[in-house]
Symmetry: C2
Subunit: 333 residues, 2 copies
């Protein structure tokens, strides 16, 4: 190793309202020494996800992030030095390294990855985004051919894949996204049947026009008003795959949930089901095989949004929460 | 037939707020003549259900009730005259006769029932209440032995059976009901492990004390604040069987849904699923066999609340919505 210093980005303050770059600080420290059972990793590519922001609110499916510690985050990394069996220098892994150049991490918390090209696909279509889309749509949403699938945050890393898989499964697909450019991209490039621009006004009416036969599967990334509008348009026995609640992450927690819960759930016999990608670890191989087949055939297009430089990670997350990315955003180091 | 007049109770006005006897009117008309394919029924016992009130809001799983027509409602009735194959005078049926002495109903809308004693069991434990409890708990809630099951409106027709079936399935059972008498009845007579009195104050803390290991299955009859409190105490992969939303029926529609939707659903990977009893028509025989076995062995106690006289039906429904009944309320004619 020629470098001797480890740049780190600390979360110095938990935001009360919107997240900004001022909540982070870049610092330098010595490169850590791996303990027994650990490996030293050189971080190559940090995954940015709306969930990073949700972690600041408190314990979720992981413990809460503490202030004045390295900001947590999953990344693609290379083993530099190993004190654990099964991992060798040069191996590629995914794990929660945090936002830094180097990290010493217990080997048992890492997933060893194959070397494929481009490597970034391991963070997008073959990473958490692609697997979340795959499992959430197919195992929770369970769309049948001919049904109408609606997905929110449709131009994001997960949503853009959800919509394309739903098309592969012969569904009518409606994406909800922010701005005419994103909406146009969904229909012209990704094959969505229709797109609704939530920044142009309330979605209820345009959604009704875009999904005239009602909604059978709603893949919910956002919660809030858009969930409420979809609930009202669900068909009998419809399924709502609850993946995230982006609308609730960056600011004060919502005072209330959507109208229609539980009344519409009863009357329409809906199922709302939450999931996270780790729940399906035992089915990864099958999912990756399908995703690779679709990517190879050109039926599934991969959209990535790559930012360069560790120092730009805070602004990249702030921008993601404002919806400025298209497809999977990540930071290359 | 010695009688020549048919007493009917009309819904003369849809309530804007709480339902009262003034929204109904007793009238008399000629006993109807059954048309081809219909039977003339003598109504014996009218089922009262919170859902009767929900029907007034608009179309649900059935069309909305219209004003100045006979109030809709399911009842146990006897065939007086038949113009349909398969039904004979003296046969016992269940169907939506409405609140009246006599009704002419298409035979295809009726379910023929066995003659058992007491006949009222056909409206309680072997009727919609018992079957709703059975299917909702076992097919939607899917409790495992040792899990904690919470049920609201626990002293009502459905809730009192839900809790007892959950005990038969070796769960820890907590009932939420209104008033110390009902709560005491649940634990001392029906074998519930604990009961929470929602009229004594917010349920969050007493519920936490009654379900110290969290909630695995919540059978929701009420929606609103109690659903919100339960959502916050659900365990990972918990199931919420959405059966009704009594808290929302008698008054203006709720302005908002419960907090935690969809955030807690995602984080805890909960399933909220709505159902109505008709969805399980193909499994009735199995359900009735189980229920009969449990009743015969004394493990399932049947509680009925029988009001006499058609003219008392409006007040009986008003009282049910105020929670004055214990077990299944019905009106005997």
């Amino acid at each position: 190793m020629t470098e001797t210093l480890n740049r780190q980005i600390l979360l110095v303050e938990k935001p009360a309202g919107k997240l900004g770059p001022e909540h982070f600080r870049l610092t330098q420290t010595a490169i850590p020494q791996p303990a027994d059972g650990e490996v030293l990793l050189r971080v190559r590519c940090i995954s940015l996800d709306a969930a990073n922001r949700a972690w600041m609110h408190g314990a979720t499916y992981r413990s809460a992030i503490e202030t004045n510690s390295v900001m947590a985050g999953g990344a693609l990394a290379e083993v530099v030095e190993s004190r654990a069996p099964g991992l060798e220098p040069g191996d590629l892994v995914f794990g929660d390294t945090g936002w830094q150049d180097y990290a010493a991490v217990p080997a048992k918390h890492l997933v060893k990855l194959p070397r494929i090209e481009p490597l970034t696909y391991l963070l997008s279509v073959y990473g958490i985004a692609g697997l979340t889309a795959y499992f959430g749509l197919l195992k929770i949403g369970r769309p049948k051919a001919g049904e109408t699938v609606v997905v929110s945050a449709a131009a994001g890393s997960v949503g853009s894949i959800v919509g394309q898989i739903a098309k592969i499964k012969d569904c009518r697909v409606v994406g909800i996204a922010g701005g005419t450019d994103k909406c146009h991209w969904l229909t012209s490039e990704l094959g969505f049947d229709a797109a609704v621009d939530y920044k142009a006004g309330p979605v209820f009416k345009p959604l009704k026009a875009a999904a005239p036969n009602g909604i059978d599967v709603y893949f919910d990334n956002v919660g809030g008003d858009i969930l409420e509008a979809c609930l009202a348009q669900m068909n009998l026995f419809g399924r709502i795959a609850c993946c995230g609640a982006i609308s609730q992450y960056d600011g004060a927690p919502a005072a209330h949930g959507p109208r229609g819960v539980p009344g519409l759930i009863v009357v329409k016999r809906l199922t709302m089901q939450g999931f996270i990608v780790m729940d399906f670890d035992d089915q990864r191989a099958e999912a990756l095989a399908d995703l690779q087949t679709w990517v190879a055939s050109g039926r599934l297009k991969v959209q990535e949004d790559i930012v360069n430089g560790l120092e730009n990670t805070p602004q990249a997350l702030v921008g993601l929460l404002a919806g400025e990315n298209r497809g999977k955003r990540m930071v290359q180091l």
